[in-house]
């Protein structure tokens, strides 16, 4: 640990509005926080960094009244305080954007934003007024969403925007953002940052958590690093850089790797031939006559903005969405009409984008989630073999470096990033021939990100065909041999691994930042 930084509040010109003193939190046998001190400064942004499972979300949930600390105190405006619930904390002016979305999918955007705080009049709820306010909020976030659409009909990124809008609508003094940008594209992040600067100008204090370190550095005034439930470093923005964060977070520097070389590509494993996918109404083409080949050993990255059709393309290839026309071939065999299960058996798997909705079974344990896609192969005689399953789960945990107490714990007890690793591990362990990953790095720390890309490179070397999507340009330029840019359902450009960020962004229809 660094001795130059002492994890205690030091004299500061700006006043501290909210702080945690010696806060510890124990979940059963896991000590998530071990006596943490943390300060939120008035009208400034404090960024909280740390590996997956470091305890960031837990600390934020304590500050926002979701959890009660096992020991330690919370101090608001200089007075110790105990929050009974998150509503209580909200009434004290603290609101939180959770890492895992907490929207009601069956309700409209408007109803979600005003849930529990409906604008009531003598004649019932004033929907018109609610809608007006929603539109204002969404305009501020530069997002074109009708307040009357149901949340389940929105893309993940749009849902995240709604979540942000809901937190903004409360007009709180202290706003906690736990990975608010994990599903947003670069331009949307820019918009969010503009909003954050406006909020700061109004005196709102902000806590910002992100695994996109460079991004967080753009906006923050202070940096705090958590490691294994301890606060290991604090510094104001002027004194730090990326390297400082990485050093305190994981102790060494990571890069995201480079495309694996030194072997020839094999035959075409995945062949996509003029595939078209339409939206639910059938009017709009989400994927428009798209063709694409991935060879054995090749890693292809698809970059695009939200709404470019990446998720729809991958879901169609995996068998979740039907192709309106076109063909999908795996190892020369037409699989356009086969079921998801058949495709998995043939060796084509998808790691979905939204882990809560599509990736995990929350009622099951970590181990049961990891073996779910592979159960057929674990059957001996009539039943699944406990021994085989245990080996399988242990292997998957080791390969994807999931940080778990025991595979018998419920999946929800893992930190967000570790849940993501479980989703990857589940599909990876089916020994696929081609793997599709939709935003595989969502919510994982840079160590784990490097780990995932290393895994992809390793798989490719052994002849796996890899196709992944990302909204972070930096991740295109890691292990991918080929970068495809998607725009409005079509391929708008294709590059080799020697391309520059600016060219990728220009091809995606995105205004180049800086």
């Amino acid at each position: 640990m660094d001795t130059s930084v002492i994890p205690v509040a030091e004299p500061e010109t700006s006043e501290i509005v909210l702080s945690a003193r010696n806060v510890a939190k124990i979940f059963g046998s896991i000590q998530a926080l071990k006596g943490v001190n943390f300060d939120v400064r008035s009208g400034q942004v404090t960024a909280l960094f740390g590996e997956n499972g470091a305890g960031k979300s837990t600390l934020m949930k304590i500050l926002s009244g979701v959890y009660k600390p096992t020991s330690g105190t919370i101090i608001l405006d200089g007075n110790p305080i105990e929050f009974d619930s998150s509503t209580d904390a909200r009434n004290h002016g603290i609101s939180i954007i959770h890492q895992e979305l907490s929207l009601a999918p069956n309700m409209t955007v408007r109803d979600n934003i005003f849930m529990g705080r409906e604008i009531r009049t003598m004649k019932g709820v004033d929907f018109a007024e609610e809608e007006r306010q929603c539109r204002l909020l969404l305009t501020e976030l530069e997002e074109n969403i009708d307040p009357r659409t149901k949340v389940e009909d929105l893309r993940l990124g749009q849902q995240q925007i709604v979540e942000i809008a809901r937190a903004l609508s409360v007009n709180s003094r202290i706003l906690i953002m736990d990975e608010p940008t994990s599903a947003l594209s670069a331009s949307e992040v820019e918009v969010l940052f503009k909003v954050i600067r406006d909020l700061k100008a109004k005196g709102v204090s902000i806590v910002y958590i992100s695994h996109h370190l460079e991004e967080a550095l753009q906006i923050t005034d202070h940096a705090v690093v958590l490691r294994d439930g301890n606060m290991t470093a604090y510094a104001p923005r002027e004194d730090i850089d990326l390297e400082w964060i990485v050093r305190h977070m994981v102790g060494e520097h990571f890069n995201l790797g480079s495309p694996p070389t030194g072997y020839p590509f094999g035959d075409v494993v995945l062949k996509v031939d003029e595939v078209t996918v339409a939206d639910a109404t059938g009017n709009q083409k989400l994927v428009d006559e798209l063709s694409l080949d991935v060879r054995a050993g090749e890693i292809v990255c698809i970059y695009g903005l939200m709404g470019a059709g990446r998720t729809e393309l991958l879901e169609c290839l995996a068998g979740r969405l039907v192709a309106r026309h076109g063909r999908v071939e795996l190892n020369g065999r037409d699989i356009t009409r086969t079921s998801i299960a058949e495709r998995i058996a043939e060796g084509l798997v998808l790691v979905p984008e939204d882990r809560q909705r599509d990736g995990l079974v929350q009622t099951m344990t970590i181990g049961q989630n990891l073996s779910l896609a592979n159960l057929r192969r674990l059957v001996r005689g009539l039943f699944t073999s406990k021994r085989l399953e245990r080996e399988h789960v242990d292997n998957a945990i080791r390969r994807t470096t999931v940080k778990a107490g025991s595979p018998d714990h419920l999946i929800g007890s893992l930190s967000g990033g570790n849940q993501q690793k479980v989703v990857i591990g589940k599909m990876w362990s089916t020994n696929p021939k081609a793997i599709l990953l939709d935003e595989p790095s969502r919510g994982i720390d840079i160590g784990a990100k490097a780990e995932v890309f290393r895994l992809l490179a390793e798989g490719a070397r052994e002849g796996l065909a890899v196709l992944y999507t990302t909204s972070e340009v930096g991740e295109c330029l890691s292990v991918a041999h080929r970068i495809i840019v998607m725009h409005k359902g079509k391929i708008s450009a294709e590059f080799g691994s020697d391309v520059t960020k600016a060219r990728i962004m220009a091809a995606s229809g995105e205004a180049v930042v800086h």
Binding site: R320, Q368, F383, V393, D408
Partner: protein
């Protein structure tokens, strides 16, 4: 009873403290059962006798068999409201077949032997269930609605076949070679009623299926998160059809046992039994949202309900009060459940 604990079948054990949560909830159902037994034994000397326990158990058998099917459906996140009606209709079908099937064209009456009657009845139950399954799996009809429809249709068919009357003569006839139907309901093996043995067997079989087979895991996954299950290659439509078909078949088993116990089959048999089955599953700690629950708990739930209602009869509580008490127990159980799962949210 079989081991059906979900968390137990898990790899890499942290053995000593595996299912404390499960033990607690089952402990509550078990505690309730003990309270009921102790209370009624104090109230009536006849309650805690072997013969009364066996009689009560043979009543529980009906609820228990229905509840196993209900559990399968509830685990996938659905509900089966048709079990009571299918039970009634199964009895009628068996009764109808026992009376002999007349073929006018040939002028003969065919008396199928009892095993054939049994098989046909079971197949019919499974068929009715798979209709629901197809409705739910492929046509996306909510299970509540689909099974509500089957509830009415089955009851209606039962009334149509019998014209509202009851088949009284299920004993069969020596000369037609179709005797033996009362074996299910009356006979005992080693002093234990056959119906109780059937319940124990079914509980063991389905307990093991849920805990140890891939199909069992698929059921839990489907109820826990259908979308994630689908993307992991779980054949969700197949699972749906299977659970409703199994529930229909188990309802038929219960129908056969009940009409055999009564040696008669009336079109209103099993009226509102679906509610008892749901109650048993819920008291047993299953979550109506799907994905959580097991056979052991459900069996305890069935015994709680059966022993409670028989006890009330024995100590002479009026039928109206019985209904009130049963309702109170159900609410209490659901309350305990929501306490258990409410605190454990992510």
């Amino acid at each position: 009873m079989s081991s059906t604990d979900v968390s137990k079948m898990n790899p890499t054990a942290a053995k000593p403290k595996i299912n404390i949560a499960n033990l607690l909830i089952e402990g509550r159902a078990f505690g309730a059962l003990l309270v009921i037994i102790i209370f009624f034994s104090l109230m009536s000397p006849n309650y805690l006798t072997i013969s009364n326990l066996l009689i009560m158990s043979s009543h529980v058998a009906i609820y228990g068999i229905l509840a196993i099917g209900m559990l399968l459906v509830i685990l996938t996140g659905g509900i089966d409201l048709s079990v009571g009606s299918v039970l009634g209709l199964a009895g009628i079908i068996a009764g109808f077949l026992m009376q002999g099937v007349t073929f006018n064209a040939f002028g003969v009456i065919l008396y199928p032997p009892v095993w054939a009657v049994t098989l046909m009845t079971l197949a019919f139950g499974a068929f009715l269930g798979s209709i629901t399954g197809v409705l739910v799996a492929y046509l996306r009809v909510p299970s509540f609605v689909a099974t509500l429809g089957i509830l009415y249709v089955a009851r209606g068919i039962a009334l149509l076949i019998t014209n509202g009357l009851t088949y009284n003569n299920l004993g069969g006839n020596e000369t037609y070679g179709n005797t033996g139907f009362d074996w299910l309901g009356f006979n005992r093996l080693f002093g234990i009623p056959v119906s109780v043995i059937i319940l124990a067997l079914l509980a063991a079989i389905f307990g093991i299926i849920l805990a140890r087979s891939a199909f069992g895991r698929w059921i839990y996954a489907t109820g826990g998160n259908q979308r994630a299950a689908e993307l992991s290659g779980v054949p969700v439509p197949f699972v749906h059809i299977c659970v409703y078909a199994l529930s229909g078949m188990l309802s038929s088993v219960a129908g056969l046992v009940l009409s055999s116990q009564l040696t008669s089959a009336g079109p209103t048999a099993g009226f509102t039994y679906e509610m008892i089955a749901i109650a048993a599953v819920v008291i047993g700690g299953a979550s109506l949202n799907g994905g959580r629950g097991n056979v052991r708990g459900t069996m305890l739930g069935a015994f709680v309900i059966g022993f409670l209602s028989d006890g009330l009869v024995i100590i002479g509580v009026s039928a109206y009060w019985q209904t009130v008490f049963t309702g109170a127990v159900i609410v209490l159980a659901v309350l305990l459940n929501s306490l258990q799962y409410g605190g454990k949210r992510l």
